[in-house]
């Protein structure tokens, strides 16, 4: 019997039981397909402070809000390296996906050491010695002294630590090189 013959010849109750079976299978397949989409819409977290949520895909468009470290967002859709998100306060906009984490920053260290306060957890910051430009830590100064390491090398570490770039300079550098938020064609 061909498939077509079955529909023509099958008795009515049997026919409906086949429909039900098809429906059940369809629902089961649909359900299993839907499950990943539910987890896809799961909450993600800002990996650092001052994560920009912009009105448009362009990183230079108006800033809707700034996320703080660990702040949750719900992903609504994706476009290349960007994700459209909704914040807990109901604001929607675009975020560079690599500024988000699938795991909530932990207070134990790593990206979440600063905890949810956005501040470094330095309960017992070691004081710095006053011998050089900015001052190395006392332990380092003591170590360098014991090992008779020249002052110029201690000063080099001091300069290394003191050197900084502004966020504006870093942003210009990334934009000029199509890096970070400006990568993948975004401008």
């Amino acid at each position: 019997m061909t498939h077509f013959d079955f529909f023509r010849k099958a008795p009515l109750p049997y026919f409906f039981s086949r429909i039900n079976r098809h429906l059940i299978i369809s629902i089961m397949i649909g359900g299993s397909l839907l499950l990943p989409s539910i987890s896809w819409a799961a909450t993600l977290y800002a990996k650092q402070n001052d994560v920009k949520v912009t009105a448009e895909k362009s990183p230079t468009s108006a800033v809707v809000t700034m996320l703080t470290l660990g702040e949750p967002v719900t992903v609504l859709s994706k476009a290349g390296r960007l994700a459209k998100v909704k914040t807990a306060k109901g604001k929607t906009g675009w975020v560079f996906t690599f500024r988000l984490s699938s795991t909530k920053p932990s207070a134990k260290g790593g990206s979440g050491l600063s905890g949810l306060t956005g501040k470094r957890q330095i309960a017992a910051r070691e004081s710095r010695a006053g011998g050089s430009i900015r001052g190395l830590k006392e332990s380092t100064e003591q170590y360098a002294k014991d090992k008779q390491i020249k002052q110029e090398h201690r000063d080099a570490v001091d300069r290394m630590e003191a050197f900084s770039v502004t966020s504006d300079e870093l942003m210009k550098f990334k934009k000029a090189g199509n890096l970070g938020e400006f990568s993948g064609g975004a401008q």
Binding site: F7, I19, H22, L23, S26, G30, L33, L34, S37, W40, L44, K47, Q48, N49, S77, K78, G80, A83, T97, F98, S101, S102, K108, G109, G110, S111, G112, L113, S114, R120, I122, A124, E126, L136, K137, S139, T140, Q142, Y143, A144, K147, I149, E152, A156, V157, M160, E161, F163, V165, L170, F173, K174, A176, G177, N178, L179, G180, S183, G184, G185
Partner: protein, 322 residues
């Protein structure tokens, strides 16, 4: 009726497909491709650690036997766990203190600071761009150039990252430099050095390593720095950690928007010099050819690379500012 069923199924599929097509995309974007490892990854700092008693040795024994693992291997694993449990994870401030002392040693052993303000700014901009999209973006990273013609780059704990002027001069573009720096950033984010010394002879018997403990016992602090510099400058980290830093670093460079092929390209340059170039790099890192083959396999997993730059012109402009 058959048409109705087919139509119904088709409609359901049409509704579901666009949704499911997007499912899990962030998993791919947010997580580094799984490292190709033959052995289980070493425990990360503070990760996967259970409070004493939560995972009893008997449970490990039972699970091991259930999976057919020999008793000798189970005992070795249990021994390893015991060492990890002996010392609490080293905190960030302690990590920075250790890194600062190692940084002093780095300048002292590798010809001191290479003083070029423009180059210094350039490597810091690249390094900070890569670090911004790492798994530990809140740490304050510092990058410096060492005045040594030897080709080398290394990372001390706490975000102190060095590259020699000798290595810098062999690079061809910014993506290669970003690849090298990203590899070092990965060592920091995955706390490879801390993990090594936690399992080492000096800290193996210590239960807590705090700032006050460092101050109270300068000899112990000095011994720990000696152990770290020995690993960093002479012996090298475990091969698994180097391979992991390759995998993770390539992902960081990719996230930052660089072409992730940069590290591979530099290693190919290095491979040609193997045997006659003066570099401790060869003794402190696994076989360059093997690393290249592993990276080549890894790069196959990246599909959207066409628009990602190497930035050769910008690199050459900066390096001319000597």
């Amino acid at each position: 009726m058959k048409r109705l069923i087919i139509l119904g199924s088709l409609t359901l599929m049409c509704v579901l497909l666009p949704v499911t097509g997007m499912s899990g995309f962030l998993d791919d974007l947010l997580q580094a491709p799984p490292p190709q490892k033959e052995e289980p990854a070493p425990a990360q700092e503070g990760a996967n650690e259970k409070p004493p008693g939560e995972e009893s040795p008997d449970a490990i024994q039972g699970l091991g036997e259930a999976f057919g693992i020999k008793k000798k291997k189970i005992d070795l694993f249990k021994k390893g766990l015991g060492v990890v449990e002996a010392l609490q994870p080293i905190g960030e401030e302690e990590e920075i203190t250790l890194g600062e002392a190692v940084a002093v040693e780095a300048f002292s052993r590798f010809g001191g600071e290479y003083r070029n303000q423009e180059w210094n700014r350039y490597i810091n901009l690249i390094g900070k761009t890569v670090a911004e999209f790492s798994d530990r973006p809140t740490l304050d990273y510092h990058f410096a150039i060492l005045n040594s013609q030897e080709q080398n780059a290394f990372a001390a704990p706490g975000g102190y990252i060095f590259i020699t002027v000798g290595l810098l001069n062999t690079l061809k573009n910014e993506a290669e430099l970003a690849g090298v720096l990203a590899h070092e950033v990965a060592h920091v984010t995955h706390k490879h050095m801390l993990e090594t010394i936690r399992r080492g002879a000096i800290l193996g018997s210590v239960s807590e390593f705090t700032l006050s403990a460092m101050k109270k016992d300068p000899a112990m602090f000095s011994n720990v720095i000696d152990e770290m510099t020995e690993v960093l400058f002479t012996k090298g980290l475990d091969k698994d950690k180097e391979f992991e830093a390759d995998v993770v670093g390539i992902e960081y460079a990719y996230r930052a928007g660089y072409h992730p092929q940069g590290l591979r390209d530099y290693l190919q340059t290095l491979e040609k010099e193997e045997g006659h170039a003066q570099s401790r790099f060869f003794t402190t890192h696994p076989s360059t050819a093997f690393r290249i083959s592993k990276i080549n396999a890894l790069l196959q997993g990246y599909s959207d690379l066409q628009s990602l730059p190497f930035l050769t012109k910008r690199f050459q402009q900066f390096l001319k500012m000597s």
